[in-house]
């Protein structure tokens, strides 16, 4: 099994495990609570899968020819019930390629966060982002569908402020129709962020 698939499966398992305590009866949040968060950190190249080109197939990690990059974002969410928060997120992701050219990704997404563990001092959240991303590299640019799944354990120092460690996978898709001469260049790209997330809630 290819390592990118293993990673995705491991991530899904982690998310399911994180969801297990959802049976816990106590909740901290109420409908209408709001959370503003800023995150910044690094992102590792995960995979690039040329799904229409079996010769190239899927390349992983450093074989993607991407270097360690950076990621930052701001997000705003409001709780729609005790465990679910809905909002939006604007991010900025950059990675340099082997030839030292920068690839930038600017995702603009809707963000749904499920918080199965919430003690007041500690949250464990799993988030799903869906939207689009403007991607630019060298002279090429396009708007791509974007999805990410992340998990974030967060410790709150007081009633309002908390610091979390967020990780997961961010995926974009570059697709060309069957009639395009770039059909074989269609690809999924996965990046693995590891960030610190500063949250303010009220």
């Amino acid at each position: 099994m290819k390592s990118s698939k293993k990673f995705i499966i491991a991530l899904v398992v982690l998310v399911l495990l994180a969801a297990a305590p959802a049976v816990a009866k106590s909740t901290y949040y109420f409908k209408g609570d709001q959370v503003f968060s800023i995150r910044a950190g690094v992102d590792f190249p995960g995979f690039i899968s040329f799904y229409n080109d079996p010769d190239r197939g899927t390349v992983t990690f450093w074989d993607t020819h991407l270097r360690l990059g950076g990621v930052a974002s701001i997000a705003y969410q409001g709780y729609i019930n005790e465990r679910l928060a809905l909002g939006g997120e604007l991010g900025y992701v950059f990675n340099y390629s082997r030839s030292n050219k920068i690839m930038t990704t600017v995702p603009l997404t809707a963000k749904l966060t499920f918080v199965p563990v919430q003690t007041g001092r500690f949250d464990l959240a799993a988030s799903l982002n869906l939207g689009g991303a403007f991607i630019r590299y060298d002279e090429g640019r396009f708007f791509s569908p974007y999805a990410s799944v992340t998990i974030t354990p967060t410790i709150f120092f007081n009633e309002n402020w908390g610091l979390g460690l967020e990780t997961g996978i961010m995926a974009t898709m570059e697709f060309y129709t069957r009639n395009s001469n770039k059909h074989d260049a269609s690809a999924f790209c996965g990046l693995l962020p590891v960030t610190l997330a500063l949250s303010y809630r009220h």
């Binding site: 690039i48 390349v59 390629s97 030839s99 991607i135 060298d138 396009f142 708007f143 060309y176 690809a187």
Partner: protein
Amino acid sequence: MKRNATILIAIAIVAIALCACNIDATDGIYSEVASSTESKDVVMISYLGTYGDEHYYLADDGVYRNGSSSPLIANSSSKIIRNASLDESTGNILILLQDRSTLKAQIHECTAADDYAIGSPINDSNYTGLLVNGVFFNESGIYYSPSATSVVPDVKVQYYLETEEYAFFSVKDSSNAYKHYVIKDGSAIISDVEGSSTTYVGFQPLSDSTYVLISYDSSKSVFNGYQFTSAGVGDKWFQLSSSIPYAYASQAASFCFTNDSKTYMAIKCRNYFDIIDVTDTAATGISVKPLSTGFATDIRTTEVTNVKKTATDNVFIAGTYDSLLYQIDMSASEIENSSAKQL
């Protein structure tokens, strides 16, 4: 509810329309990323050739022997090596040295015996350009070799293109008429062909008498190939699949190879190498096949400065703008199975 649905549909339409922007990408972005090559922090101007087992190239800070971290012949703060030419039989190097203070540009011969020291210029004349194959020129004519043998006198060079030992010159003669010349090994083998103001950006010899010239058709925004012989420039022969990027190199990089008893021309386009069957020069409407695999995999996204043959048939050395040298091996039975490796 109906209003929300309308908003969602509108957002979806906008998103789909924006996704169509993918068509504008020069190549698959992730394809370009995955095939990006290691930058060597050296900006190559041209690959000069081999002497012994060593490869030599001109970078923006001097002439290098491949593998060395410091230049063999270095620029100084006041003098810049603009062009260079390697004599592959002796190892001697001609350089066109520009003096920043006096604006003089003179030819110097740096010999292997003298440890490539920059001595006196070969003469007192100023020159405008020196080609990799040893031809140089100024406003009085075209010359060759350290002895500055006159090849074409009394012409003003408009521009030149070169491939291997061949050089194509577009000049204005004493009556201000455009003329084309092809020079090989210091001799004009095609002379006084009536020219035009058209600027060609690619040049590939097929034989001593037949050449390919590439020019840009601005009315259709395409690059076309033409045959050039002593009779002049012929009709359009083929159309390249995409544009030619030559932001740094002075012309399109190309080379000819043989496969299955056929002769092919490979020319570097934006993100592909176009492969053209040029076996039958009498054929019209020949096909052009863009290639992104095989040897093109690693070098299709970097700018190629020039390509030279080696002593082995169908093996070439390509200089690249920021990834140094690649050896291209076209000896595989299938062109798609050809290869390139970074030296």
